[in-house]
Symmetry: C2
Subunit: 230 residues, 2 copies
Amino acid sequence: MQIFYTQNIQQDKLLLDKTEARHCFKVLRHRNGDTVYVTDGKGHLFTCSVNSPSEALTVIKTTCCPQPRSYYLHLAVPALKKPDRIEWMVEKAVEIGIDEISFLQTHRTEKNKINLERIKAIAVSAMKQSLHYTLPLINPIVSFHTFTQAQYSGLKLIAHCMNEDKKPLKQYEQAARYTVMIGPEGDFTPNELREALSANFLPLSLGSSRLRSETAALAVCMGIYLINDV
Amino acid sequence: MQIFYTQNIQQDKLLLDKTEARHCFKVLRHRNGDTVYVTDGKGHLFTCSVNSPSEALTVIKTTCCPQPRSYYLHLAVPALKKPDRIEWMVEKAVEIGIDEISFLQTHRTEKNKINLERIKAIAVSAMKQSLHYTLPLINPIVSFHTFTQAQYSGLKLIAHCMNEDKKPLKQYEQAARYTVMIGPEGDFTPNELREALSANFLPLSLGSSRLRSETAALAVCMGIYLINDV
């Protein structure tokens, strides 16, 4: 099932953007009367009819498809040096299931900027491919300090590589909301860890393997998914 | 800690191949008397001294580092159309922990050949980066039928997307050996599933999310790792 995405919805009419429209009408050659499926990334699936020649879509049916997971996951990941690693991570996280992504600027972060539009496009593509209908919230870069001091309900975890006491996911009680920070390639600094623990983040172990940051992020997504919903 | 890799070991002398030697002596500029660390990918870490001008390495100490996991994992994955997806998957699987990878040719596999040398190079790089010292065995493409009919000890699982009875990982007992088949993008065919079940592969659920093949492969690696060793 091919899904299109738009947020351009006026009553019962949808308009696709240039890229989506090209794919719909030029590549897949949808014509007057064809049925196409469109999501708004907010949990809705619209069954639509094509109205040539305007290429507008008329909504025939709206299905509410709230994301099926039993938990809300907010992952805070470092801005990595290589964009393709961030993109890979976002794609896989959306496939598995994620609600919110923040990008952390820590002491040892390799980069201080990210291409937010590109990342959002990756998220849209992954959402459509995996037949999800809810886009995660994707937040711009935020400093470690600001992120740590903000308020979050539920379980707050920090995944780090230092030789300190930390527990694996399965030893924490299941939660309705998770906020998890992943360290950069050089790990958090001891000061950053102390600050997070003081702000009631609990230390998370991802085992003895030394994982790259994006792999650690996926380990968290996967682990929480497997523990709660599989 | 920078790790080099070679299988060219003659008594107490190691020789690095051209790429590794270039990195060691030209990029990192190791000189006579420097200490370098080398693995043979078979669970050994050699502490070596550089002997200029020959660039040979003399072994000072050998440490046995068997892979630390409590289980053996053999993953059979489809040959995917895009090589970079296979490469990502191999890299991440080696980081998390894997012992053997086979490439399946199924009815719906998109490609029938893989670049085995390239994949082995990815595995070596991931092994070094994650401070593992054991390379997984990487097998060439094998037909679904041949793979299914071979003998494997331990738990044999097939991950598929059909609406048949299947259990999640956590409902299977922990095993010392896992052999897991992952379906191609179009899934296994019903006949293939029947053949696998007849050969005593048990059906594995990875939840309700529709995962790409390489994501499903990582879900299995991660799930088994988290269940057994974290």
